[in-house]
């Protein structure tokens, strides 16, 4: 056994341990903390699997925004812990669930182990067609060119999730501000951090987006960082979440899929196909779409975490 494979096993063991704790912990809050650390460690696995783009996503979502979302919910729902925990299913059910889950996991593991060797891959095809876009990052090529439809629909999924979250508002507060008004000492520590960090975060976020054309990174990763910065400013009470009725906000929220769609349709009209880019303009077009998508992702993620409208204007 080499040092490297020992390391992999250790990493897998630690990750599995945290995952077990996340399921087994008695208190939800403790479980969620476990999940946050799980997200941090998962980034390591993705690097080890040579998928740095995914590692960036995992670091930004699993370790960052996902933690904020779940920790916040755990804190708010703490009073429901004891009553709901009493609905724990009987031992028979739990044993049955454990056995069946184990069976499914075992089947999955068998399937993975018995995957054919050499593995089929589209890496050569992706490499051969990379010239069509002029981008050096194969993952970006897949997301923005070869499977552009998935990426566009995924942005619509984000938008619909936001519509779903907003639709949970009470009727009379429609059009108001999402989430509670955060108040914090404007001269306190959190506010200080929220004044210092965002400029740095903006540079890093734009860098992560920009470098995604040739190196690991991209619109989603960069947008998540920007969203986190916005959220920090909101949580520190320095800026309020915008009203959901704001037209400007809504334009930002659809800019990504909108421009994607427009470019796609332009390819329809003048180019060869829907979502096809003329080779000469492929790179600037893709980057243009990604700029809009970064903004849209940042705004959407920030608002998804802020929640449903809870205050009417000015409250």
């Amino acid at each position: 056994m080499t040092v490297a494979s020992a390391l992999e096993m250790a990493l897998a063991a630690v990750v599995l341990g945290v995952a077990t704790w996340t399921i087994a912990a008695r208190e939800t809050f403790a479980a969620v903390v476990g999940f946050v650390t799980y997200g941090l460690l998962l980034a390591l696995i993705w690097v080890r699997l040579d998928a740095v783009d995914v590692a960036l996503v995992e670091a930004a979502i699993g370790g960052g925004l996902g933690g904020v979302l779940l920790l916040g919910a755990a804190a708010r729902l703490r009073v429901t812990e004891t009553p709901t925990a009493t609905e724990r299913p009987s031992a028979t059910v739990r044993v049955g669930a454990a056995l069946l889950s184990a069976a499914v996991a075992a089947a999955l593991a068998t399937g993975v182990i018995l995957l054919p060797d050499p593995a089929p891959t589209l890496a050569p095809a992706a490499a051969a067609n990379a010239t069509a876009t002029g981008l050096g990052n194969p993952v970006t090529n897949v997301l923005m060119a070869f499977r552009a439809m998935d990426t566009m629909l995924e942005k619509v999924v984000l938008l619909l999730a936001l519509v779903g979250v907003w639709s949970l508002a009470p009727d009379r507060l429609w059009g108001g501000h999402p989430g509670p008004r955060h108040r914090a000492d404007p001269l306190g520590t959190l506010a200080f951090l929220a004044r210092l960090l965002p400029p740095v975060g903006i540079v890093v976020g734009i860098y992560v987006f920009w470098t995604g054309k040739d190196h690991p990174g991209g619109a989603f990763q960069g947008g998540t960082i920007l969203a986190a910065m916005w959220l920090l400013v909101m949580m520190a009470g320095i800026a309020d979440a915008p009203q959901v009725s704001s037209r400007r906000l809504r334009i930002v929220l659809i800019a990504g899929p909108g421009i994607f769609l427009a470019v796609g349709l332009a390819g329809f009209a003048i180019g060869s196909a829907f979502l096809a880019y003329p080779v000469a303009y492929a790179k600037p077009l893709i980057l243009g779409i990604e700029v809009a998508m970064t903004l849209t992702i940042a705004a959407t993620l920030g608002l998804l975490l802020a929640g449903a409208p809870e205050r009417s204007a000015g409250q």
Binding site: V93, G96, A97, L100, S101, A103, V104, A107, L108, T110, G111, V112, L114, L115, P116, A119, P120, T121, L122, A125, A126, N129, A145, F146, R147, A148, M149, D150, M152, L153, E154, V156, V157, L159, L160, V163, G164, W166, S167, L168, P170, D171, W174, G175, S245, R247, R250, I251, I254, P257, G258, L261, G264, L265, G267, F268, A273, F274, L275, A276
Partner: protein, 596 residues
């Protein structure tokens, strides 16, 4: 096989652009409606509807002229690297019925989801119109997507647009129903996703046509098939994975219920068809087909009996959906071709799909009428429906028409579907499924008749309507019901595979009289099992019948009680979760055993 074995190269065909438009136009509408908001959102959606209908029709026409599937390569990238959209006859007819139902629901919903005067924008209309359009776009993508991962994204799009519709009125029960729906649907989606991972790892593509050529029975493929199927069944709410369906479909606003029950569950059902008639066609599917149909039969039994025992009309209609979903799965064993040991596209498939289409229109009409009755009375207790027939004749008529179409009275689509399924049953010598098919018809007529008996009975006192009923709403419900009733007359041969032709074999009059038997049987079942008010509805000879059927009814009720109890148990979360996993394991074991 719906797709021909040899795709003429991987090239965009003439008219392929229509496929893009049918997805892009609803999506663009969603974006535009989101930005404009308020009344403009409604206008955008309503303007999109005729456009979508025209495109759906254009696809039907082009497909017929071309005589081969329409293909569009997105971005010009051919699979496996790229993603293709493909429309065969199945996709085209599903898209057409979707356009029709969405259009009718849109007209219907204008009254309920109008932005109130004096406000620029209101919550429920804003969400409803956007989500309605999103459901449409997602469904079109499901019908056209040629790539399993694109289908995953489309399915999630469908779930995300359907869930908020459930709790649009914000009541606690509907919020709970929405959360249950969302979580169970997500569980199903993840199981589907893991299957795609294994398939990609095995074959290096997720394109349906390419996979259908490459797939063979290997352990990883079997695991993938079992997990994907189980996951999709959870999203389709096939018994016993139906815990989320009754509260979600009964609790949603009428217009939303119509879409959810009529269309949304068909999305995942359609992918099950794609999987087993194309992707996994080479896997040994005999046991699987029998198992799916057995679950379908159980769904018919449970759904119908529990429907009969409901106090509220919308819940009855929701449970009827459960039974009808079961009916859809009866086609699988009938499509099994013993010679090639695979599911063959033929009369059974055509029948199953036709049933899905008829149910889409009929069930949407029934939910719309139920919603109108609820709105007018302020309640929808079945025993309190007396006099509604007089007060709301068109609504009750629409309900009756939808019900009759569902039972399978000629010339309804359901009648044709039943004919095709029965033909397939006799051709494959599986008489037991013919029995189940007939029983399904009887059960369907039982709950339809139960409702009609109550609704047509005279009122105890003169009923006062809380609100006047919109003429246009009644008209759109009736139009949909009529559409379902006349579906049997449509030229299906061009789109659905049926070796012996699709026209019914028996003369019309004979068929009509034959279809009376289920109605009579249904009446008997309804009398035996239906919920009664303080007094019996005055059916002809009421007292005499009551005296004679008393003991029989007591016996039937004694039989129905365990069914209700089991249903209640299965609708608890852990039981449903266990059923899902057990089903996955069972499917996997059956496939593995057969492929040895």
């Amino acid at each position: 096989m719906p797709y021909p074995a040899s795709v003429p190269g991987d090239v965009t065909t003439t008219g392929g652009f229509l496929l893009v438009l049918s997805v892009v136009i609803p999506v663009a509408g969603v974006l535009l409606a989101f930005v404009l908001g308020g009344r403009q959102a409604e206008r955008v959606v309503l303007a999109t509807m005729p456009l979508g209908l025209v495109i759906a029709l254009a696809i039907l026409v082009t497909l017929r002229q071309a005589g081969a599937p329409l293909i569009y390569l997105l971005g010009g990238w051919a699979p496996p690297l790229g993603v293709a959209l493909r429309a065969d006859g199945l996709s085209a007819v599903m898209m057409a019925i979707t356009a029709v139902v969405i259009g009718a629901v849109g007209v219907f919903a204008r009254v309920d989801f109008r932005t109130p005067r004096g406000s620029i924008e209101a919550r429920a209309p804003f969400a409803f119109w956007i989500l309605l359009l999103a459901i449409w776009g997602a469904l079109n993508m499901v019908f056209l997507g040629g790539d399993l991962f694109t289908l995953y994204v489309a399915l999630e799009l469908l779930t995300f647009s359907a869930v908020p519709l459930v709790c649009l009125d914000g009541r606690a029960e509907t919020l709970q129903a929405a959360l249950r729906y969302l979580l169970f649907a997500l569980l199903g989606a993840v199981l589907y996703l893991v299957g795609t991972a294994l398939l990609y790892g095995s074959y290096g593509t997720l394109d349906i046509v390419l996979l259908s050529r490459r797939v063979h029975a290997e352990p990883a493929t079997v695991v993938a098939a079992a997990l994907m199927t189980a996951g999709l069944l959870a999203k389709t709410a096939l018994f016993p994975l139906h815990l989320w369906l009754p509260p979600a479909h009964a609790g949603a606003p009428a217009a939303a219920s119509a879409v959810l029950s009529g269309l949304v569950v068909k999305g995942s059902f359609f992918i099950v068809i794609r999987l087993w008639f194309d992707v996994f066609a080479d896997l040994p599917s005999f046991v699987l087909a029998q198992l799916l149909a057995a679950l379908g039969a159980a769904a018919i039994l449970f759904g119908s009996v529990v429907a009969l025992r409901q106090e509220r009309l919308k819940l009855l209609v929701a449970y009827s959906t459960l039974a009808q979903i079961g009916y859809l799965f009866l086609m699988f064993p009938l499509a099994f071709d013993a010679g090639s040991t695979r599911l063959a596209s033929g009369g059974a498939l055509a029948g199953g799909l036709l049933q899905a289409i008829s149910h889409a229109a009929a069930k949407a009409a029934m939910f719309m009428s139920a919603g109108l009755i609820y709105a007018a009375l302020g309640h929808d207790r079945i025993v309190g429906l007396g006099g509604v027939g007089r007060a709301l004749p068109v609504s009750v008529f629409a309900f009756a028409l939808g019900g009759v179409a569902l039972v399978g009275v000629p010339p309804s689509g359901a009648y044709l579907a039943k004919e095709l399924l029965l033909q397939a049953a006799s051709a494959t010598e599986q008489w037991w499924w013919a029995v189940v098919i007939q029983a399904g018809g009887i059960f369907t007529s039982s709950y339809v008749l139960l409702v009609l008996a109550h609704a047509l009975a005279p009122a105890d006192a003169s009923i006062t309507l809380r609100a006047p009923v919109g003429r246009i709403q009644e008209a759109s419900a009736a139009a949909l019901a009529l559409c379902s009733l006349l579906l049997g007359l449509a030229p299906w041969q061009a789109y659905l595979p049926a070796p012996d032709g699709i026209a019914p074999s028996t003369p019309a009059l004979e068929a009509l009289s034959a279809s009376l038997w289920p109605l009579l049987g249904g009446a008997a079942v309804a009398i035996l099992l239906g919920r009664k008010g303080d007094r019996l509805p005055r059916i002809p000879l009421g007292q005499v019948v009551a005296a004679t059927v008393g003991p029989a009814r007591r016996a039937a009720l004694a039989l129905s009680r365990p069914i209700e109890r089991i249903d209640n148990m299965l609708r608890q979360w852990p039981a449903a979760g266990l059923s899902l996993l057990a089903l996955a394991v069972l499917l996997g074991a059956a496939l593995l055993a057969a492929s040895r």
